[in-house]
Symmetry: C2
Subunit: 269 residues, 2 copies
Amino acid sequence: LGGSIALAAAQKGTFEVAIWARRAEAVVQLRERGFGARASTDLAAVVKDADLTVLCVPIGAMPALARELVSLIPSDSVITDVGSVKAPVVAELATQFRTHGRFIGSHPMAGSEQSGLEAARADLFEGATCILTPEPATDREALVTVADFWRLLGMEVLELTPAEHDEIVALISHFPHLLAATLVKTVAETNPHAFGFCGPGFRDVTRVAGGPPEMWSEILRTNQQAVRKCAEAMIENLRGIVTLLDRPQPMTDFLSEAKAQRDRLQLRK
Amino acid sequence: LGGSIALAAAQKGTFEVAIWARRAEAVVQLRERGFGARASTDLAAVVKDADLTVLCVPIGAMPALARELVSLIPSDSVITDVGSVKAPVVAELATQFRTHGRFIGSHPMAGSEQSGLEAARADLFEGATCILTPEPATDREALVTVADFWRLLGMEVLELTPAEHDEIVALISHFPHLLAATLVKTVAETNPHAFGFCGPGFRDVTRVAGGPPEMWSEILRTNQQAVRKCAEAMIENLRGIVTLLDRPQPMTDFLSEAKAQRDRLQLRK
């Protein structure tokens, strides 16, 4: 995601883009993609004049990077992140940047199954949604800076509290991922021969189970409270729905209601 | 489905196609689609010389239609159906046609969300799979007749026992449908605001929940034993998977295994 953000910002903004990467090979790749002298493994050199810093590392790597960053950035610098879980990230980073720097949590909901610099695309954000998660203590000027940044990249910006963000992404993304993987496991254990008969329906229901396991394991761990709540609600609902299997009218009513809700979805990019 | 079968058979076969429809308006529509004098509401007239009869009515309407049919068809006539549940249909129809007519269960796995004659397409079956469900007592000559018919329409023909067919379609189609509808219900009950944030992942996971409720209610009722078994296995697996939420390595292993199984799928049309 970091590569796409850098490409999009360099193309659409009037500001200077500098990129820090942990590994020297990544810096070589970044130079090949046109980031020249402003790509470096030297964090201090990259962030020392930063007006806005976007943290694009796995959620688990954020606290340590933030601790390094806080002594290197200007004191009024704005920091945001791209983590797909917000309550724990915001709690940690807002604390770290309380007196030095101003933190705003972001979740740009764009991306693809591919990762790495080769997959970076400047147009990845056009028409997609970015959720910002301000808190009562959040600096409003910094919030506007971050919102304007994502809008410049082509995104629609919405605001949620960190807790509501995490509940919503658990419902529409994290738990459905777990559910799809569990369905694949259930088929494999019940009758693996069934995999030979799958058509478009099963393909679509299970598509998200093809995502990168380590990244998803970390997301699920970080958002475990909301995901567990979804799983418990789902189990309870499944138990109830199973009792409708021999009751055609209530089952039809349930399927009609689900169909109506599904048909009303205003899908985002 | 009946309209598509008639169009495909008329286009690809050298035999004469006759169609019975319950409603006079359907016969008018059939004539407009080119079925002329061989479309009728008079069942006896349509089937009296039939070598092969394909029953394309909802599963619940099959026993009554079969009872009517048995006295009207030639005694060596071959009968098949297109029901997506096989054990109860085969048990009922094989009994009805035991001494008069020869019954073979078929499940052509082709179709679309659309229904009705307007949606009929002669190429619907090209490259798709048809499962036949012979039993030990099944007439082998009739089995060849039915297999050849579906192959003529462009289908790959596979054989399963009725019970294994029902277990497999429960796993890859009927239960995933119930699961998708239950996920929509769970989101609606937990936080309906979440529907405003859905992207391609949620769209794909829940797509099958858009199917026709009455038809699906009947399918689920007819295959309730196998669907209930899937639901119980799924609930048990979900309970186990939830305990991995704070155990990153076992969760990564589980997701990796599901991803590998998903990536290996040889998808059928």
